[in-house]
């Protein structure tokens, strides 16, 4: 188990570096797809089977496909060729350092301080992961679900509107 985690973690970090680092956008996109696949595996390790499927279908399967299509359509150039303005990368470096520091503090606070709930993996397995998630979605989290659906509607309308605008 630990070994599996180590492998997947390494995969994650490498692909993330790829997302950030590649020059050609198409490579960035493909790296992101790989990253998401790794993430799905992690979800599986964390006993979130429903999310594993959702991640693959929605995120990797739909969102990233959209990304790839657009990149193929637009074929933008790499931005690394553009003259770089000197200062921004310093900020990035600084923030990187700060975040690293935060992460290090995380190393020294290893416990989770939240209150444990009742749904142990066994309890969930008894009912079924999807069923449990579904029940929670439609009872405890009903309001967020409704709001999110509204948000999707708005996004769809917005996207259509934006696409239909005549470009001056």
């Amino acid at each position: 188990m630990v070994v599996g985690f180590a492998i997947v973690a390494a995969w994650e970090i490498v692909t993330a570096a790829g997302v950030v680092g590649f020059r050609k956008p198409i490579y960035n996109a493909l790296s992101l797809v790989a990253n998401m696949l790794g993430l799905a595996v992690l979800f599986l390790m964390l006993n979130a089977q429903f999310l594993f499927a959702a991640q693959l279908i929605v995120y990797a399967g739909a969102v990233m496909v959209l990304f790839v299509f657009i990149i193929a359509l637009i074929n933008p150039e790499s931005d690394v060729a553009l003259p770089r303005r000197g200062t921004e990368w310093i900020y990035g470096a600084v923030f990187g350092v700060i975040f690293a520091a935060l992460l290090v503090t995380l190393l020294f606070n290893r416990g989770l301080t939240g209150r444990p709930g009742t749904l142990t993996p066994e309890a969930i397995a008894a009912v079924g992961n999807v069923q449990t998630v579904g029940v929670a979605l439609y009872t405890k989290f009903l309001f967020p679900v409704e709001v999110t659906s509204l948000l999707l509607l708005i996004a769809a309308v917005g996207a259509v509107y934006l696409a239909m605008r005549r470009v001056r």
Partner: protein, 627 residues
């Protein structure tokens, strides 16, 4: 009886409202008769109240609770006893006559309706002051008469001198008002009541002669001194002569300026309980009386002489109530109202005849031209000088008797009063002789004509009052309130009366010699007395002193505040705050670069900040944040 009191109060108010709102639209006759009639009606009602009071009824009636919070309970109540009955009779009676006179006197003035409106307002507020049953409403009436006085002094508002005079009067009155209000504070603080009933019953809880009660009485005295133009807050009264003559007669002779005397008399239980304060009252009265009388001898404006005379006579009243002779003081108030109003109104006739010239040196020999005015003014002069058997004789004598026969050091004041009596006779006869003349001109080219009957009849009535007023049994009338006045032995009685008479006679004689017989002696004496004369003539330079000490520094301060503090400090602070925000906004605006990356930067920075803060609260940081 309670409705009666209320109606007495409200009829002048009704007159004011009608004349104020509709006066411009109504014909002059109606305005005048509404103005005078409302006061006349009030007088009739006051007479009815008198009949009730004589029958032994008193009134302390609460009509409604005006202000109540915790134990601060101020009702609107009216208090009608012998003292207030006397006051309202004089106010409405003399007031009515003066209003009638004004119908004639002010007939050519464009502000006719405004005049009557203000006059009615004055009577209303004066009655409110006198009828009030608690200190707070008295103060309200007090402020009201101050307002009316301001409006009426500055009646001819196009005249700068009138406006300044009105302002001066108001400012000095306000000083007194502050005293009154603080006295009310002290009273409520210590006794938790402001109405007379409660106040009078609880006064004895305070230590006699103690600091608290003395402070209260002195603060009230401050108000009285300002309102009654006694030293040191007296300088506004001569200036107040800028107002029309009926105003001077009503407000600055007969009634408003006597409000201070009324106040002390009404609060007599308090002053009995604070001997130091009462002594202060008497001393101020005595000194003012003498002071004003000396100034009066050197003035040449007919109204100013009468103004200083008023100041002096009120000094007598203050003296009386200060030494505890309340009845004597109120008696003199009544007789003074008669002859002073008479003198002013008659003077008004003279002023009109000389087309608003008030310099007595330009007058003289008026017996033929203004006969009624001449004889009535003479009666008034005789009365105020203490001519035997006229009203002034009785009332003045009573005060002097009270002072000289008292146990303690009051006799000094009595001597001052005697000297003042002599001076009074002197300056009044000086005035009469110079202004009205002793000769009978064979033939007068000046085309003077006597005033209208509507003006002369009230004067005649007042003259009658000045003659027989002394026989009104004021002392026994007021005895339920103040107790019986102290008796003196017959020898002392007649002896003191003789002394008073002698003083007046001396004054008259000197005036007669200097002005009627040998005018050149008057001139000689003036040059002899040189600097003293100038001092007196300039009112002891008090106005100049006040100007230097108070007015100029105050103006300088005002200028400083206006020119420096206001633009730099206050505006600076306000603008500074605005500028600060503007500056900040300008700086922060630069964050809006429009570039996603810089926005991202700021967002990230903020996120880190939040994480740090939360971590701090949760205790993850070395620094202790929150609880």
């Amino acid at each position: 009886m309670d409705t009666l009191a209320l109606l007495v109060l409200l009829t002048p108010l009704a007159g004011f409202i009608v004349n104020a709102l509709f006066g411009r639209l109504l014909p002059r006759r109606i305005v005048g008769w509404i103005g005078a009639g409302s006061i006349g009606l009030a007088f009739v009602l006051a007479l009815l109240a008198l009949s009730q009071v004589l029958g032994g009824h008193r009134l302390d009636q609460t009509y409604f609770t005006w202000w109540q919070s915790a134990d601060f309970n101020v009702p609107f109540n009216l208090y009608l006893d012998q003292l207030s009955t006397l006051m309202i009779l004089v106010i409405t009676g003399v007031g009515f006559l003066i209003h009638v006179y004004s119908i004639g006197y002010m007939r050519e003035d464009p502000g006719y309706s405004r005049f009557f409106a203000y006059m009615n307002l004055f009577v209303f507020t004066m009655l409110l002051l006198v009828l009030s049953g608690n200190l707070l409403w008295l103060i309200i009436g007090w402020a009201g008469v101050g307002l009316s006085s301001y409006l009426l002094i500055g009646f001819w508002f196009e005249r700068t001198s009138a406006v300044f005079a009105a302002r001066k009067a108001f400012v000095m009155n306000t000083i007194g008002d502050v005293g009154m209000v603080f006295a009310a504070f002290l009273i409520f603080l210590n006794l938790r009541v402001l109405d007379y009933q409660g106040l009078f019953s609880r006064v004895h809880q305070l230590p006699k002669g103690g600091g608290v009660i003395t402070a209260i009485c002195l603060l009230l005295l401050l108000g009285a001194v300002a309102k009654s133009a006694q030293l040191p807050l007296h300088t506004w009264l001569p200036d107040a002569m800028e107002g029309p003559t009926p105003v001077s007669a009503l407000i600055h002779a007969a009634t408003m300026v006597t409000a201070g005397v009324y106040l002390v008399a009404r609060m007599h239980l308090l002053y009995d309980w604070a001997p130091t304060a009462a002594a202060t009252v008497a001393v101020i009265g005595g000194v003012t009386a003498l002071y004003a009388a000396t100034i009066g001898t050197a003035q040449i404006d007919i109204k100013r002489i009468l103004a200083y005379s008023t100041m002096s006579q009120i000094g007598y009243m203050f003296l009386a109530v200060g030494i505890g002779a309340y009845t004597a003081g109120m008696f003199h108030f009544m007789t003074h109202a008669f002859f002073k109003a008479l003198l002013f109104l008659a003077a008004g006739n003279v002023i009109h005849a000389f087309h608003e010239d008030q310099d007595i040196r330009h007058m003289g020999n008026l017996r033929a031209g203004l006969p009624i005015t001449f004889w009535t003014f003479l009666i008034g002069t005789l009365s105020i000088s203490g001519f035997p058997l006229l009203a002034g004789f009785f009332s003045k004598d009573e005060i002097i008797r009270g002072a000289l026969s008292a146990a303690g050091g009051e006799y000094v004041l009595g001597i001052l009063a005697l000297i003042t009596a002599g001076l009074t006779a002197f300056y009044m006869f000086r005035l009469f002789i110079v202004a009205f003349g002793w000769e009978w001109l064979a033939h007068d080219d000046r085309h003077l004509h006597e005033a209208l009957p509507v003006q002369t009849i009230p004067i005649v009535i007042l003259a009658a009052g000045a003659v027989v007023g002394g026989y009104i049994p004021v002392a026994s009338f007021l005895s339920p309130v103040f107790g019986q006045p102290a008796e003196v032995g017959t020898l002392a009685f007649w002896g003191l009366a003789g002394l008073t008479l002698a003083a007046s006679a001396v004054g008259f004689a000197v005036a007669y010699v200097l002005y009627a017989r040998r005018p050149e002696l008057a001139v000689a004496w003036r040059t002899r007395l040189g600097p003293i004369f100038t001092l007196v003539e300039h009112k002891y330079y008090v106005d100049e002193l006040y100007d230097r000490v108070f007015v100029r520094p105050c103006l300088a301060l005002a200028r400083f505040l206006n020119d420096i503090v206001e633009p730099r400090v206050i505006d600076g602070a306000v603008n500074g705050i605005a500028d600060f925000f503007l500056l900040e906004a300008r700086e922060f605006r630069l964050i809006q670069t429009g570039r996603v990356s810089s926005y991202a930067l700021w967002t990230l920075g903020g996120a880190i900040g939040i994480v740090l803060v939360v971590a701090g609260f949760l205790g993850y940081l070395p620094v202790r944040l929150g609880g």
